[in-house]
Amino acid sequence: MTTTDIVQLLYLAASALFILGLQSLGKADTARRGVRFAELGMALAVAGTLLHHEIVSYHWIVVSIVVGSAIGTAMGLFIPMVKMPERIALSHAFGGLAVALVGIAEHHRHGSHLGATALTAVGLEVFLGALTFTGSLVAFGKLQGVVRGAPITWRAQNVLNLLGVALALGGVAYLVTAPATPYLLLAILAVGLVLGVTLVLPVGGADMPVIICLLNAYAGLAAAATGFALGNNVLIICGALDGGSGLILGLMMSRAMNRSFSNVLFGGSGAGATGADAAAAAPGGGERGAATISTVEDAAAVLEAARSVIIVPGYGMAVSQAQHAVRDLAAALAANGASVRYAIHPVAGRMPGHMNVLLAEANVPYEQLFDLDAINDDFGRTDVAIVVGANDVVNPAARTQRTSPIYGMPVLAVDKATTAICFKRSFKPGFAGIENELFTKPSTMMVLGDAKDSIAALVREVKGAAAAGHERMAA
């Protein structure tokens, strides 16, 4: 058996371990074991690569791995859970960067000797890697608030973006006929870098779950292209897995927003534009009824009598970091004899599964977390629905108003609960810029202000009332 055979067998074992690992990630009980499998696979793949006959010097490799591990460990251990969307965006950027650099290095080393397939792959790899890199950086900037979160649009953006894609693909085709032209590859790189920015700028903050998934898919495709360029199967498999997961999650997210995938793919400006139109069409809110503004004390009085409660978290909970206060509230209500569950909308927050992670961080057992489909029919039989910083995912207009931009989007039927208590910073409309009639319904109590502070006060109120009740009973 030659060294090459050993390397190939190690790659095969690594690929099997990756797939096994992802399969175990499908269940909460086995998920951590899945991560172990994947880690072992990665170790085997790296060990195999270090045997590669083209590697002649190791000192720079060691330095880079030490530096990368140090940064990776620091990020892995110290990034707070509320910053997960930002971390994911950054890691897509690193992935795209690595792939683009490998492509340039590969072309620089073997340029004129590469076959047509490898050249196509190198071109696509550099293009997709560059696009993922800047696109993810812009996404990161939007999540961090460095770049304006609202959609940034300009005239003919979709036409210009499509032209950019065509230009890059034309460049790749030309690269195959003229392999020994490094400037051509740099031009492809430049187009990719620009397109990454122009494709993500028009996307609004709440569309982030979809765009993060898409960037994940691009990063995966770029990795697969690297595999074709280097003739490396483990890269191709991992690229396919990563690209596939990004695509699946992206499809799920866009379905949960009732948007076609192509609508999101081509700049995803749809919601932003219609939202602006809707806001312009209804200045000052038109003929909306008066909202019932309630105090924490009012809310506590209603909750004291409640036997069944459903909590609906949204991005606002993440912003004010109210997940621990929410957990305390649930515990206080449960101590009071109420059944408490959580309803999680697929696109609540800024990435797939965002709310689940935050609530898990606050020690909420995952058995209390319910998906949209599993819980939506129960709102009609629920005493109180508590909405914490969610807006569009609970807007009844999606069910009832044909003219609404979000009509048809599956929403949580909070308005069917006997009482809805909504914690909201202000009356500012959500990402789609649409009025939410839930907030003006007579059965809705609005508690304005910072969600964390309001809920902490509510917890004190509920506990105090319960204690007073016990004293009355004792007396």
């Binding site: 880079s64 290095a105 397939t117 991992c238 596939g244």
Partner: protein, 100 residues
């Protein structure tokens, strides 16, 4: 088209099918850990960057390769660590005191 690239296409298409089957079964609950884990796995581009960094071809290749190795290692190490940190928090039963 060469034999190797045809084989590559086989691997890609079959890998995509397996991935689709496996990944579409992951519940919403675990989507963030899933994304973070596939991210770490995509750090496999490390395999390509290692060859560039260690080939001793010329300075440009080494610099590009080393930058790529650093970026990919950040993803692999950071990705696996944070995935595990997240999954440790997912508990079936109520709050167990003393673990925080």
């Amino acid at each position: 088209m060469s034999q190797t690239s045809i084989m590559g296409l086989y691997v890609f298409v079959l890998g995509a099918f397996v991935g689709w089957q496996v990944l579409s079964k992951v519940p919403h609950l675990l989507h963030t850990p899933l994304m973070s884990a596939t991210n770490a796995i995509a750090g496999i581009s490390l395999v390509g960057s290692l060859v560039a960094a260690g080939s001793d071809h010329d300075t440009l290749t080494t610099v590009l390769g080393c930058l790529a190795v650093t970026a990919a290692t950040i993803n692999v190490v950071g990705g696996f660590l944070i995935t595990d940190r997240m999954l440790r928090m997912f508990k079936r039963r109520g709050p167990s005191r003393g673990t925080r």
